[in-house]
């Protein structure tokens, strides 16, 4: 594999993992703008454990557990907030994490922190595939059903015995563990981390991948992250190759326009439930009336 393709593949994989970390809470109706915070915790804790002598394959799961424990603890106050207030609370959390690390000398403070063990694409790609499969599986379980029902109507979910608080905390915590995994892999791949990399822009992009990809099915974050990783880069390549450098310079304008158009014409995201159902039953489906009438949804 060429160096360029490999580097793009790694970026894609990391974005997909981050996106699933935000998707899990989003599927149960929570907007989490704290991705950078969890990614930072994952990257630094795995790097530190690794530096303390533990091999990478122990450091990464340990960092996930550590991050999950933090997420579980802060989930209770944070999940008391909703909507834009939750966005603000999670954003504030990420800022606190960044502020903390930049002042911790043993983690390199503002100078950044070197990471020992290296993870190449032979580690990153299989792990990403596992994450995707895990999330698809999770959404098909009882917890997945509960999360989607909470997304629709929290009060009614309670009426059927769903422990709303527990399901939300579980989604938030599992999501944080995935982002920690992504952050740890980032560190071990590039072998150097600094807090400035994991800034609010990253949190915004990841939340955008998920919202624009769609939160109704587990396909959403995969398609969203892939689309918004590959398309801007492809635009840049095409522009450079065809000699129209101005396209490359202004590609974020096209990108912005796509996002605005999406918000207007497809607020539920690129991939919707109906779309997946239709794709699964291309010839009208086994059950009478299922596929044709789905078009009216």
């Amino acid at each position: 594999m060429s160096g360029y393709l490999e580097s793009q593949l790694i970026i894609l994989c990391l974005n997909v993992i981050y996106a699933y970390g935000i998707f899990l809470p989003a599927a149960s109706g929570q907007l989490n703008l704290g991705a950078a915070g969890f990614i930072t915790i994952g990257a630094y804790s795995s790097a530190w454990i690794n530096a303390s002598g533990a091999p990478m394959y122990i450091a990464i799961p340990a960092s996930m557990l550590f991050c999950a424990a933090i997420a579980f603890t802060i989930a209770f106050p944070i999940l008391r907030t909703r909507g834009v207030y939750m966005v603000l609370a999670t954003f504030a959390f990420a800022e606190v994490v960044a502020g903390l690390i930049i002042n911790l000398e043993f983690l390199g403070a503002a100078a950044g922190y070197p990471v020992e063990s290296h993870a190449d694409y032979l580690v990153v790609v299989p792990v990403t595939i596992l994450v995707v499969l895990l999330c698809f599986f999770l959404m098909s379980t009882r917890l997945g059903l509960a999360m989607r029902s909470i997304h629709d109507d929290e009060a009614v979910a309670t009426l059927f015995g769903v422990d709303v608080r527990l399901a939300k905390v579980a989604a938030f915590t599992l999501g944080a563990a995935l982002m920690s995994l992504g952050g740890a892999l980032y560190g071990h791949h590039y072998n150097y981390i600094e807090t400035q990399t994991f800034n609010v822009l990253l949190s915004i992009y990841i939340l955008l991948y998920v919202l624009l990809g769609g939160t109704q099915t587990a396909w959403g974050p995969l398609v969203g992250a892939a689309f918004f990783t590959v398309v801007p880069e492809a635009l840049r390549q095409i522009a450079t190759a065809s000699g129209h450098a101005w396209i490359a310079d202004s590609r974020f304008i096209f990108f912005g326009a796509i996002i605005v158009l999406m918000m207007v014409f497809r607020p539920e995201g690129l991939v919707t439930r109906t779309m997946v159902d239709r794709a699964a039953t291309p010839f009208g489906g086994g059950r009478s009336g299922a596929a044709p009438a789905a078009r009216t949804a």
Partner: protein
């Protein structure tokens, strides 16, 4: 008594929604709670279901005090509420909505879901569609079917006839009667006084959170004070 409500008080801040309310429901009965908007009917159901904490009073299920129980625990004990405005899960399929009804159960419910489909062929035809495509009447059938799958001992219905056409209202009350004959105990909150009293065995009339009238359905239908409760006798 299967359900006893004793001295129930519900307050929202300074607003006193229910005052010292007593209510009884025997196994196999349909009891209706009537009253104008703001009489406290929905608050009563929420307090019984456990989504609203009462300021005072007790709720007993089969003699056991459940006042301190969480809502999920009450669902498992057999108290199921069909909320006002149906409130189906619009981004879940019809089938998933039914599965949600059985969320609190650990046994296999697919056979019971098949029974539901036998009873409501319209739901069967749309089992894999998003519930948002259903008509108002179908949504009400789905909401009631979903509640049935929780295997309730008492089904509480909050204004189920709201927003339905007269023909659908008739078939809804027929269904409520059928379910009762199959052995289901029902607590029915309604604004449609006439239909509710034709279906129910007994009724309570609430005004400003307190019972102003109660008795058998026949007694209430014959009582002039029933109208007063609606026309604001205060």
């Amino acid at each position: 008594m299967l359900l006893e409500v004793e001295g129930l008080d519900v307050r929202y801040g300074r607003n006193h929604a229910i005052r010292a309310l007593d209510l009884e429901l025997a196994e196999g009965e349909i009891v209706t709670v009537l009253g104008a908007n703001g009489a406290g009917k929905s608050s009563l159901l929420k307090a019984v279901q456990g989504t609203v904490k009462p300021a005072a009073g007790a709720v007993r299920l089969n003699g056991e005090t459940v006042t301190g129980w969480s809502s999920p625990k009450r669902v498992r004990a057999g108290l199921t509420l069909v909320p006002e405005g149906r409130q189906i899960f619009v981004s879940l399929t019809v089938h998933e909505n039914l599965q949600m009804g059985a969320y609190s159960r650990s046994d296999n419910v697919e056979r019971e879901i098949d029974d539901i489909y036998q009873r409501f062929p319209n739901l069967a035809a749309r089992r894999d569609m998003l519930a948002s495509v259903l008509s108002g009447g179908e949504q009400q059938m789905l909401a009631i079917s979903r509640a049935l799958l929780a295997r309730p001992r008492i089904m509480m219905l909050d204004e189920p006839s709201l927003g339905l056409s007269p023909i659908l209202v008739q078939s809804l009350f027929d269904l409520i009667g059928d379910l009762n004959r199959d052995g289901l105990t029902i607590l029915l909150v309604e604004q449609n006084t006439h239909m509710a009293l034709q279906t129910a065995h007994r009724g309570y009339v609430l005004e400003l959170g307190a019972t102003v009238l109660s008795g058998t359905a026949e007694e209430l239908l014959a009582d002039d004070r029933l109208e007063e409760a609606y026309l604001g006798g205060n």
